[in-house]
Symmetry: D2
Subunit: 139 residues, 4 copies
């Protein structure tokens, strides 16, 4: 499948990621990288990046990576551990496939700041539907 | 502590929740309820509510509930299982304390639609800092 | 399906649970309760119940509950939060179904001591195979 | 601290791991490897390795790795995804530190068979007590 088409699909069709300033910058089979530039609306009441923003960035990379094999995959379970906060700068989430079967697949995602420090570690599992991702793509 | 003040603090100071249309509607000791009206920007590429939106709503209720005892509590770990999607209507997250110690506390959060159907189940743990929540509240 | 047959199946066929002194005491549709009497071999190096023993007891109740609908269900993902230790006495794990679909189902399990105190909270998800549980039961 | 002493401590003092045929074979700062030879008592009712056995092996490596810095560390939260079963042979769990702070630290553990196939992926977090591990070690 065309990795560029998958990247473009996620960047145009994922409204929640777009609303929160997140972009898929790379997709390969079983891998994706998402980025966001921290802005004031990403913070929580303690003035550090919101757990929901870290989770969403990781989840977005996870979605692109898990759909990179061309079959519609939906997240069923995920967990996140948060090690460190951030207030500014670019955050990068990299998702890597750990295991893939016909129906289920597991991924690990790391969220880092520009200095390469690990802010959060995410694990997720998807269920693959019997639907080709292409059927969701335009044209 | 004044539960109304905690509710107001989260609704005014949590920028990410506000940016995503989420509101704390009730806080009691060890409990909080958050709500959001689904809008198009909450959806993902498969046209159902984004996992990051479900997580953030649950995490927001979790934050209010875990700070309800008056000591600053930060999320360190959480997991979410997603059972069902949604495209419209109001979603409600209720967070309940399972256990609380001086440093650590555990919570369970359920996210439901207006019909009461369970969309997602969330578990989270916080670490309590030696900082009074009041020190973050406005004068 | 016959709940007594499911209970007997788990108590006779689950070798790891038996080796670790665990018993299913009740199964209903979407529910199961497992128990173990703490013995010295359940402890870790800090002389409190091992996280693996708490997990296994919870997982055993989860397995019985998730197979109670008569279709073979295998655990794909689970998480556990541990709140309190124990050195002696009986521990009880109760598993309850949160959601069930044709392929996936979610469960919550609580592990308590005899005084009813919550020691650990467990969440798990199963994948249902197209195999009747009865095909595994003896004659 | 003496890595050999930590290894010996876990192999002699962790009663639950010993009861289930598990051994720590290597400890370094922030790392540990545990092994077990699958035996009939490790299996579940579906005749594959029990989720509790996979979890306990991962948790044992996690405990040794998280205590390798010389301060008593207790597991507070962990999650496991299971990708593949096994009926015989040796299983190997490797735990690696992702992040370490004064009070909290995060680890990832992979459980593989002898062919190097990933059976399960585990994430865990510990809370460090103000107790030196040495105080638990014999004379």
């Amino acid at each position: 499948m065309d990795m560029q088409a998958i990247r473009d699909f996620f960047n145009s069709a994922d409204a929640f990621a777009a609303h929160n300033g997140m972009t898929i910058v790379e997709v390969r089979e079983g891998y994706a990288r998402a980025e966001m530039e921290l802005r004031p609306f990403h913070l929580n009441g303690a003035r550090t990046v919101h757990g929901g923003a870290l989770f969403t960035l990781a989840d977005f990379a996870f979605a692109a990576a898990s759909n990179s094999r061309g079959q519609l995959a939906l997240s069923i379970n995920s967990s996140i551990s948060i090690f460190q906060g951030a207030r500014a700068g670019k955050l990068i989430a990299e998702a890597r496939e750990l295991s893939h079967g016909p129906k289920l697949a597991g991924f690990a995602v790391e969220v880092r700041n520009e200095a390469g420090e690990l802010l959060a570690s995410f694990s997720g599992m998807v269920y693959r539907k019997s639907v080709a991702l292409e059927s969701l793509l335009p044209g």
